[in-house]
């Protein structure tokens, strides 16, 4: 049984309340001083029911901002330590610093390569049929474009003017990654990729104009199994197409890029139209930086109107695996010989759209058949919630989240074991939701603890089940 004293010292101490006074605005110069920052003694005031997520003036809390940035830029949630560093650490300039750190990380390149490989249809099997070797070199090339912040037009030019072998000259896979390998098909792929115009909406003049430049592009096989050579038989005018696209139509290309990135950050179909692009940048990291450092991005999601986005299937899988220490088991029986991915490979980093499983399909991973943005599902369905409520696999993972890594880690007792109720509750909140519990939430848990006569294992299991079944977990808020 916990004594009142223990409870008071817990709530009053550690991090539980220290977190809420700060807001995302705390990073900004003192000109707009947020009301919340002046709250000197939070314990004296009744806790707002939204204290964990939003400051009284409608801005995201620090904890929400940290989680948001990790999810949007790195495709993962922060570890407990990373979240605490942001929430409890030095305030000055931390948002900008975190953005820069994340943009430079491998996690950024993995996550955003997944996005770009969706629209470039990077998959080995039907109906795109790139074949695994080509998938790996193409994915690697896309990842490099993002990691090095290569301009979108330079990358586009490299794709559109490429020639050579699909296994060695990664860019030629642009011409292979479509189910219509014809000048018209390539014209449509070009318009869709760089102007954001789906084939159904493409005007025939543009289609014909683009297609003319692809008239001499040919694909031939070699004696190497599934190797194909993309080459130009005759005059190659694809450079002129690039001059047109990235010259005369540069503003449109920049606009399409910004729209796409905004859609990925704010949620597909839910992003407001972009403001007039003043200085069109064609570097993805610059576009992202501008968005995530804006005031708009710092707003809260309760009253502040910041759009919530359903977590991507791959990111969700990684969240479950990381929190529970579960191993992944991705493999593909086709084509032979079978492909087995290393168990520690993040799901976000899976190169091949053909390697999937029921979980990923259920949560809307795109098949990469068309490259259209709406191929990715962001809905919440009853079938998904059934999985979250009841899945045997997830229930095993939840049990592992109580003590990730097991009782012993590297021959030493898992330090979590010595952490007792209710500190353990706080630990779960930090790990799973990247924040400390609110007083109200602790109150619920204290009551449950009492009702269960101090038995903790089931209590922890049920708490974790509740946390992973909450909106706050399933949405990037």
């Amino acid at each position: 049984m916990e004594t009142i004293a223990t409870r008071r010292s817990f709530i009053g101490g550690a991090t539980a309340l220290a977190a809420w006074p700060g807001s995302a605005l705390a990073d900004k110069p003192a000109a707009k001083k947020p009301a919340a920052e002046s709250t000197s003694k939070p314990a004296a005031k009744p806790e707002s029911p939204f204290a964990a997520w939003e400051t009284p003036d409608g801005m995201a809390t620090d904890a929400v901002m940290a989680r948001r940035l990790y999810l949007d830029l790195a495709g993962r949630i922060p570890t407990k330590e990373e979240a605490q560093e942001y929430v409890l650490g030095h305030k000055e300039g931390r948002r900008r610093a975190l953005v820069e750190r994340l943009l430079a990380s491998d996690d950024f390149a993995d996550y955003w390569a997944m996005r770009f490989c969706d629209i470039l249809r990077v998959k080995s099997e039907f109906p795109i049929n790139l074949w695994p070797n080509a998938v790996y070199v193409y994915h690697d090339r896309v990842r490099r474009f993002l990691k090095q912040n290569e301009p979108w037009d330079a990358f586009g030019r490299a794709l559109l003017t490429s020639q050579g072998s699909d296994f060695r000259d990664a860019e030629v896979n642009f011409f292979r990654a479509t189910d219509r390998r014809t000048p018209e098909g390539w014209a449509e792929a070009t318009a869709q990729t760089f102007l954001g115009i789906p084939p159904a909406d493409l005007d025939s003049a543009t289609r014909e104009r683009f297609a003319r430049h692809f008239a001499n592009v040919k694909v031939k096989t070699t004696r190497e199994w599934k190797e194909e050579i993309v080459f130009v038989d005759g005059k190659d005018s694809r450079g002129e197409l690039c001059d047109h696209l990235f010259g005369e139509r540069r503003a449109e290309v920049a606009d399409a890029l910004v729209r796409r990135v905004r859609g990925w950050i704010f949620g597909l179909g839910r992003a407001k139209p972009p403001k007039a692009a003043g200085d069109p940048t064609l570097r993805v990291k610059d576009v992202i930086r501008r968005i995530v450092l804006s005031d708009e991005y710092a707003r809260g999601s309760v009253k502040g109107g910041f759009p919530a986005r359903r977590i991507d299937a791959e990111v969700l899988d990684d969240m479950f695996c990381t929190l529970s220490g579960a191993v992944r088991n991705y493999q593909s029986p086709a084509p032979e010989p079978f492909t087995f991915l290393p168990p520690k490979r993040k799901t976000v980093a899976i190169e091949d759209g053909s390697i999937s499983n029921g979980f990923l399909t259920l949560f809307g991973r795109p098949a990469r058949d068309t490259g259209l943005d709406n191929e990715r599902g962001e809905d919440v369905t009853a079938k998904q919630r059934l999985y979250l409520f009841n899945s045997g696999k997830l229930n095993k993972q939840i049990a592992s989240m109580i003590l990730p890594g097991g009782k012993e880690i590297g021959g030493k007792l898992n330090p979590l074991i010595s952490l007792k109720f209710p500190q353990r509750i706080e630990e779960f909140y930090w790990r799973i939701l990247s924040r400390p519990p609110m007083q109200r939430e602790l109150g619920v848990m204290l009551a449950e603890h009492k009702r269960r006569k101090g038995k903790t294992w089931d209590l922890y299991r049920d708490l974790i089940w509740c946390l992973v079944n909450s909106k706050e977990f399933l949405f990037r808020i």
Binding site: P49, F50, W53, E125, F126, P127, T178, D179, R180, E188, P199, S301, V302, K303, G305, F306, P307, A308, R310, A334, S354, G358, T361, L362, G364, A367, D369, T370, N374, E375, G377, D379, V380, T381, A382, K383, R385, L386, Y387, F389, N390, S391, G392, K393, N395, R440, E441, V444, E448, D462, L463, W465, C466, N469, S470, K471, E472, L474, F475, I477
Partner: protein
């Protein structure tokens, strides 16, 4: 005639041999028939392969088509064509017949389970819902129907969580899931979508729906009749799903891609499938469900008529789409008929070729869905259910 209420698809992934199923050629040479025979059925003049003795006893319940034909010899392209009636390509991935029919019949179906259920694994390798997206996605059961407890992940509660314990969790969740956006905002709509999905999910998990998968409610005699195999118990589960009212049930039954040692594989596969399908059809008939349920069985293509006896095939058959067989029963299809005639080695249709479109079109028509009508979708696509085709090909000769 009343349209069929449900469809059960028994998908023989990999391409089963036409010669060792419904188009045996006992008079051809051993290089074609492997030295195997045909057997008579209970319908005079109708013969099937000797490895299907149980189906031979109830041929009045189903008809066979011996002249299915198309031009795609790769699994994915052929499966796509057989499932959607369209050629791959065109920048669009269209939904398979299961997704189309279940979506069309969704409004008249009152059950809690999704209108499209797949036993036990998805086809994989191509998306069955195509552009229709998550909302049309089938419930894929997973699990082992022949194990002591058929655990359908997500629907049947995991071991160790009692009903009472589950209720406690939901009460806790109601208190802890407190992120509640401002009324009328876009986020509030998302939160509502989440909550509504949750209510529906809980109703499925706690209502009668989960009991459909409890095969222990069937008598031992019934379970044995279907065969104590995953094939048999999957079809028993399919029957329970039809009784429950699910409009489209697919049983994906793989393992027919017998390039090597074809005869060994085929003999084993045929035995368990023969028992299960015969029991299934008779059970539907006895329960008065066959008239309202279409059953169709087949794969994406057949197999090369000439056997490859040499290594590495050692008696194998490869992919072959020019001429292959299908079984149809119930829901407005007559039994005891043979459609089409192939040549002396089952290599090409001689009379009455049937295209994938002709075939699918007939199923749609008997389900009361106009094949030339719009393909309902919320993606703004203007497509018809099937591409335009001639009415002449429809299987009207076996409409009841």
């Amino acid at each position: 005639m009343k349209p069929a209420k449900s469809v059960v698809e028994i998908w023989l992934w990999g391409g089963p041999s036409q010669l060792e199923t419904f188009d045996p050629k006992p008079n051809a040479s051993r290089d074609y028939n492997g030295g195997l025979k045909a057997i008579p059925t209970n319908v005079p003049g109708m013969e099937i392969h000797e490895w299907w003795p149980e189906l031979a006893k109830c041929a009045d319940l189903y008809s066979v088509i011996r002249t299915m034909t198309h031009k795609h010899f790769g699994h994915e392209s052929a499966a796509y064509l057989m499932q959607t009636g369209r050629m791959p390509g065109g920048g669009e991935v269209c939904p398979a017949i299961g997704a189309v029919i279940s979506q069309a019949k969704k409004s008249e179906y009152k059950g809690d389970l999704p209108p499209y259920v797949i036993l036990t694994a998805a086809k994989g390798r191509f998306s069955e819902v195509g552009f229709l997206g998550a909302d049309a996605a089938p419930l894929v059961t997973g699990g082992q129907p022949n194990s002591p407890r058929f655990v359908v992940d997500g629907i049947v509660a995991p071991a160790g969580i009692s009903h009472a314990a589950s209720n406690v969790r939901f009460d806790m969740l109601a208190e802890l899931d407190a992120w509640r956006p401002k009324e009328g905002s876009a986020n509030a709509a998302r939160a509502k979508e989440f909550d509504v999905a949750g209510v529906e999910a809980r109703r499925i998990a706690e209502g009668d729906a989960a009991k459909v998968f409890d095969l222990s409610q069937e008598s031992e005699e019934t379970r044995n009749r279907y065969g104590r195999t995953n094939v048999g118990q999957s079809l028993l589960a399919a029957r329970r799903l039809v009784e429950y009212g699910v409009p489209y049930v697919t049983f994906n039954h793989g393992g027919w891609d017998s390039h090597k040692r074809h005869f060994e594989t085929m003999k084993k596969r045929s035995a368990e499938t023969d028992q299960a399908v015969a029991a299934f059809l008779k059970d539907l008939k006895e329960r008065g469900l066959l008239d309202s349920t279409i059953v169709w069985m087949g794969g994406e293509f057949g197999r090369t008529p000439k056997v490859g006896w040499d290594p590495p095939w050692n008696g194998g058959r490869n992919h072959f789409a020019s001429c292959f067989s299908m079984l149809v029963a119930g829901g407005g299809f007559k039994g005891g008929c043979v459609v089409g005639k192939s040549d002396e080695t089952a290599s090409k249709p001689v009379e009455r070729p049937v295209s994938p479109q002709d075939f699918l079109c007939s199923i749609y028509e008997l389900c009361g869905i106009d094949p030339d009508g719009p393909l309902k979708n919320n993606k703004g696509k203007k497509l018809t259910v099937l591409p335009p085709q001639s009415e002449a090909g429809r299987l009207k000769e076996i409409y009841a």
